[in-house]
């Protein structure tokens, strides 16, 4: 017994010293943690910075004169339409010429969200009209595009999933396009909803060229016999 006492003492001492060390450690860690947490951080102040403007990219259309080299009238006519097709098959145009009752949106041509349908006049279901969200103008604050005529093309004028040749024949068929050739030309040159494709607002990519250039190509195509690609 006697021999074990000092050992016991030592053990207790060790324990006490150990505990004290542990407490001290906790205190030190706690205190330094607090100092770290409470130490006022220095913040940058305002200073001059130049904004970097990204160069805007424009896609151009070839002009009518660019096709003078094609001598065969039919080939030239087709070439005019194929160049105009860069506009026709652009997402800005295709999105509202869907083959279902639902438009698509964005350059990716995703299905439109929210879930909307064309309704009887192409302007949406009576209780969820296009105009619930789309106003007469593009609205920068919400990024929602707008136009007074905002609506879908009739289902007979569905372009999505069609070849350019089929779209061409569709345009020339008054039972589907509901337009004579003169009306068609007027539509592509003057219509403000068509014109929206070149002024889509937000970060949307506009259709190539300008409405005038597009109209000139369609006119040249009509003038050269309105031949359709295959």
């Amino acid at each position: 017994m006697m021999a074990r006492l000092p050992t016991l003492w030592t053990w207790r001492r060790r324990l006490r010293v150990g505990l004290l060390c542990l407490l001290a450690l906790i205190a030190v860690v706690g205190a330094s943690g607090l100092i770290y947490a409470l130490y006022p951080a220095t913040m940058p102040e305002t200073g001059p910075l130049h904004s970097r403007l990204l160069p805007a990219e424009f896609e151009h259309l070839r002009s009518v004169a660019d096709f003078n080299g094609i001598t065969d009238p039919a080939s030239r006519s087709i070439a005019f339409f194929e160049e105009a097709g860069r506009v026709i098959e652009h997402p800005r145009c295709l999105n509202c010429h869907p083959r279902t009752d639902r438009p698509t949106q964005t350059d990716d041509m995703r299905p439109h969200t929210p879930w909307v349908t064309r309704g009887e006049d192409g302007g949406g279901a009576p209780t969820l009209r296009c105009s619930t969200c789309h106003q007469a103008e593009n609205f920068a604050a919400s990024g929602v595009p707008g136009n007074p005529k905002w609506k879908l093309a009739p289902i007979e004028m569905a372009w999505q999933g069609q070849t350019l040749g089929n779209i061409c024949r569709q345009l020339l068929d008054p039972t589907r396009s509901h337009m004579t050739r003169d009306e068609l030309l007027h539509h592509v040159m003057e219509d403000e909803l068509v014109g929206w494709a070149w002024h889509p607002g937000g970060n949307r990519q506009p259709a190539p060229g300008t409405q005038q250039e597009f109209g000139a190509l369609i006119k040249a195509w009509l003038d050269t016999g309105a031949v359709c690609p295959q």
Binding site: C133, H134, A141, S142
Partner: protein, 155 residues
């Protein structure tokens, strides 16, 4: 710029930029906070108000374009459809977090004013522009049917 805005049958003179979304005019200037900000891009419907009786997303209307219309917000919504819908909302315990419900009610009111006997498809068409993150959709649907039944056919 100075604009005259007619909200809930009251005229207000608003000094603000014409490009300010109507939503924020209602909330910050007129303290009509029942109309909610949820996404700011017309995806969620929490900010739905009526312009001349038509449901519109107020986040996507510039102040300058709202001056010629009679604006109704959730605070000013009234009429038999509104009463029937609120009763049905309570009877079905529709709201959870409740944040989208102002917009849901405004869309549902417009639906019932156009269609007293909506089918499930009609409800889908009218209501799919209003998100509910709590997914109270089934109760909204049941409550709309219930309210329609209470209202009966228009005389």
């Amino acid at each position: 710029m100075s604009f005259v805005l007619s909200v809930n049958d009251q005229a207000h003179i608003i000094e603000d930029d014409g490009e300010t979304p109507l939503l924020w005019v209602l909330r910050d200037r007129l303290n009509l906070t029942g109309t909610k900000y949820g996404c700011g891009i017309a995806q969620c419907g929490a900010c739905t108000v009526h312009l001349d009786g038509q449901p519109k997303r107020s986040c996507s209307i510039p102040l300058k374009a709202a001056t010629s219309s009679q604006i109704t917000t959730i605070e000013g919504a009234e009429g038999e459809e509104v009463t029937a819908l609120r009763n049905a909302w309570g009877a079905h315990d529709v709201p959870q977090c409740g944040f989208c419900q102002s917009g849901q009610i405004m869309s549902a009111v417009a639906l019932l004013r156009q269609n007293r006997t909506p089918t499930d498809t009609d409800i889908d068409h009218a209501m799919s522009g209003n998100l509910c993150r709590c997914a109270t959709y089934n109760r909204i649907r049941a409550a709309i049917h219930d309210a329609a039944a209470q209202l009966g056919q228009p005389a």
